[in-house]
Amino acid sequence: MEHIVIIGNGISGVTTARHIRKLSDKKITIISSETDHFFSRTALMYIYMGHMKYEQTKPYEDYFWKKNRIDLKRGFVKTVNPQQKEVIFEDGDRMNYDKLVIAVGSKSNKFGWPGQDLDAVHGLYSKQDLDAIEQYAPNNNICKRAVIVGGGLIGIELAEMLSTRNIPVTFLVRENSFWNGVLPDGESQMLNRHIKNHHIDLRLGINLKEIISDKNGKARAVIIEETDEELPCDLVGLTAGVSPNVDFLKDSGIELGRGVKVNRFLETNIKDIYAIGDCAEQHEPIGNRRPIEAVWYTGRMMGETLAQTLCGNPFEYNPGHWFNSAKFFDIEYQTYGWVFANKKEHEAHFHWKHEDDTKCITVAYHKGTQEFLGINTFGIRMRHEVFDRWLTEKKEVDYVIQHLSEANFDPEFYRKFENQILNAYNQKSISV
């Protein structure tokens, strides 16, 4: 029986395993050094916040794996030997594979800051990171202040986490507005205000110079590049993005860029070795996507696709319309299609913001053809299925704004804003 070995028990690896099992009787082994069972990485923050226990972040009960004959192996893979078709573990153990799936995810970026490897300096990616944060920041007596470096999705999650334990947070963001490499100005600035409303000391346009150690090798302060100000702190969160966790493959002969290089079938340069999820890097970007997509949903889709290929039904990775979601403290965010912070040449935006400063939308469309290109929505839930259809049908922006209520996904009895949005849109059209 063919043995499929998957390194990494995150959403990509587990999705692959589940779909292979649906399609075949192959022997499947999932290797992880992180946890015994699959858990939802996106829910790590809720453990620290006391919304959930670790047990509840596991999407499948523990009996699931045995019942579906998916073997779980706890261990750290030191290297892969493609000639012998084996993976070699840190403790010297070896395991043979017929097909190997690399789904090892990411690690937090460190940009060579002095002091970046001190104790109490952590990213927020793995279960181990969470345990460390719990250790260094259990409450505001032990952690009198935390400094977060890097203004993205993980940074704001970490800020929210720490603030639930009343730990003062200073949030250093290199850009002059939060996440404005991705979000248009109106949205980004609304989030700046929301972050400050949560009593976060948000510092825009500020860089980290170095992290200072106490006598025990633990971070005790950071120094700011621009002002040389020294900020005492007991935890430093490094959340300036993630990059593929592929150092262990350096000498394996598998082609690496920033991640594991793959073609559209998610195959590496070596036969029978595949890579998916955060750690996979496309030779050529697909459409407007980045060559490395470190997103839950794309990891899942690569898993779905690769399972077909491995079971004798080859499919290219050909994702549908782009979508994503996040939550910034109390404000939910969804996006469908493409809305660029720095508008492309042909791209125009319509922006509407509610007076309460927690809801807004931005609709992107083609200046010439009026084709609807994408939407960012904050504080109003919208239907994935409807926007997916409108994008496929290449609806015009007028149509989308006029039919926005069809896409509303807010709970019953919620106030509706479609009329306000339509009025704002009409006024804008007249004034242009």
Binding site: G50, Q308, E332, R381, H384, E385, Y414
Partner: protein
């Protein structure tokens, strides 16, 4: 794992520390409770009316003050910080104290009311019950009973914790609307109207205590002989109430459940649901989500339903038998009617929906139908006076096991241990009937939003009915579960806007696509076709 210890101290570490308003609220509330406890020790309080007023206002005010402290300065959003760190909401020491206290209270209430000071054989009330005499006399003209005391405290709990709940969900109008609704139905229908109606009773005219919204089979004594007799004797008004009761079961409820799902009752109207959603809200995360709990739930709740049907049929047929001249319906006609109705109901389900039933549901349904029909058959053919069991014994066994132990002692007393909907999930025969309809003949479902689920598990964690909502959401499947009471909290706590309670067409309501939205359209089509 957590270095944050479960801390008994109410003023413990963030995020579970109390601010000063919460401390004052706790003090005020405890003071009110203390007055009632003092009365329980038979300490004679002068001017009972005044002290009762002070006690009830303190309890209500204390809870509301606590809620104000907890939520007024927070921005709108989900307020579950520290739920699993607090002793009371994570089965810690305070939870056990509360559980034992509540359980003890229910045991005394149901079985040893004289300990609360109930006057024996019409004697004068003492203790706690005497404390409530002034209010009882004001409302219905008579001294209080243990049920009046319970009803009053129950209403106070729903109102005060209802305010807390509305504050907590200040951003969610669905949660607020249904909470206002249960607060209204409890205060008006379960408490004020029946109490005031009792004033109308005289030597020549009397109506049973009648909570119009409390339907059979939740109200298991709805068709007891004494109630039916009182209704009949009260002529037009009584018959109207009786008719309304029957119509609610066979007409009103099926129509509303078809249109809106069982939530119209369970989380908008019902008193048990009302208490669970308000006072019990802090315990919703404690429900067991495992597959084995679901299996137990299905067998237990449907067994209670069958027990309830058999018991009620036996009780009714007994008095129709020995008091035949009093009623137009004869015992034979009644039994044949019941058998025909059940047979027909079953045939319709089998004809239209058998493919949607799980294997054990089918076996269970067939088994139960055979049992009920054969009981009726044995009785009818053998002509025995009794319904195989003595109906009155069956009735008291039901009252004891289901009415008292299950719904009260376990159902509410164990809130802090098993979660707030144990009774609704495992024991309520009404929920079982509505649930069957919700699963098979209703427009209600919880929709999942394309491929947006991130499997975080907030929905499952905060489902009070123990439904593993995530298991559906992460497959992109609608949630159509008989036990869902439509509280809407899964949708509220979802950080990605994935879940929405909806009423829509029945077509394609139960689907199980294998691929979520977002991937290659050809791949999705290929997989969904196979």
């Amino acid at each position: 794992m957590s270095t944050l210890e479960k801390n008994m101290s109410l003023t413990g570490e963030a995020p579970q520390n109390l601010n000063s308003i919460q401390k004052v609220g706790t003090l005020v509330g405890m003071f009110g409770l203390f007055i009632i406890v003092l009365a329980g020790f038979n300490i004679s309080l002068p001017n009972k009316g005044l002290w009762l007023t002070i006690a009830l206002i303190s309890i209500t005010g204390g809870i509301i003050l606590y809620a104000k402290g907890a939520y007024q300065n927070k921005l709108e959003g989900i307020k579950n910080d520290g739920v699993w760190f607090k002793s009371i909401s994570s089965r810690g020491y305070l939870a056990w104290i509360a559980g034992i206290g509540l359980t003890g209270f229910y045991i005394v209430l149901y079985f040893f009311a004289e300990l609360l000071g109930l006057g024996i054989n019409g004697g004068t009330n003492t203790g706690v019950i005497a404390l409530f005499d002034p209010l009882s006399k004001l409302l219905n003209g008579n001294p209080a009973s243990q049920w009046f005391v319970y009803g009053t405290l129950y209403t106070v709990a729903i109102l005060a914790f209802g305010v807390k709940f509305i504050w907590k969900y200040k951003h969610n109008r669905y949660e607020q609307s249904r909470t206002v609704s249960v607060m209204f139905f409890q205060t008006a229908f379960a408490f004020m109207i029946p109490e005031l109606m009792a004033r109308l009773n005289s030597d020549t005219f009397s109506l049973p205590y009648n909570d119009l919204k409390n339907m059979w089979p939740l109200n298991y004594y709805a068709f007891d002989q004494w109630r039916i007799d009182q209704f009949i004797n009260a002529e037009t008004i009584g018959l109207a109430f009786l008719l309304f009761g029957i119509l609610s079961i066979f007409v009103v409820s099926p129509i509303l459940t078809y249109k809106y799902g069982k939530r119209w009752y369970c989380s908008w109207v019902c008193g048990c649901g009302g208490l669970a959603e308000t006072a019990g809200d802090s315990f919703r995360q404690l429900s067991d989500k495992s597959m084995s709990a679901w299996k137990i739930e299905r067998w237990v709740v449907h067994s209670v339903l069958v027990f309830s049907v058999v018991m009620t049929t036996a009780v009714i047929s007994t008095y129709l038998g020995y008091d035949a001249t009093k009623y137009w319906l004869t015992k034979d006609l009644f039994l044949i009617g019941v058998a025909l109705f059940l047979g027909l109901l079953f045939a319709v389900i089998w004809l239209f929906k058998r493919d949607e039933l799980a294997k054990d549901a089918r076996y269970g349904a067939i088994g139960y139908l055979v049992v009920v029909l054969s009981l009726i058959g044995i009785h009818y053919l053998s002509g025995a006076e009794l319904f195989l069991f003595e109906a009155s014994k069956l009735r008291s066994l039901y009252g004891f096991l289901i009415g008292s132990i299950f719904s009260g002692v376990i159902g509410t007393g164990f809130y802090p241990i098993f979660g707030n909907r144990v009774w609704c999930r495992m024991g309520c025969p009404m929920a079982a009937i509505l649930g069957m309809q919700q699963r098979l003949f209703s427009k209600f479902r919880i929709t999942t939003n394309g491929g947006q689920c991130i499997s975080c598990g907030n929905c499952s964690t905060y489902c009070e009915m123990g439904i593993d909502v995530r298991a559906y959401a992460q497959k992109g499947e609608n949630i159509v579960r008989s036990s869902c009471v439509g509280c809407g909290v899964c949708s509220a706590v979802c950080p990605r806007g994935v879940l929405k309670l909806e009423n829509d067409t029945m077509n394609g309501r139960i689907d199980s696509n294998h691929i979520l939205l977002g991937n290659d359209v050809d791949l999705m089509e290929y997989v969904n076709r196979n």
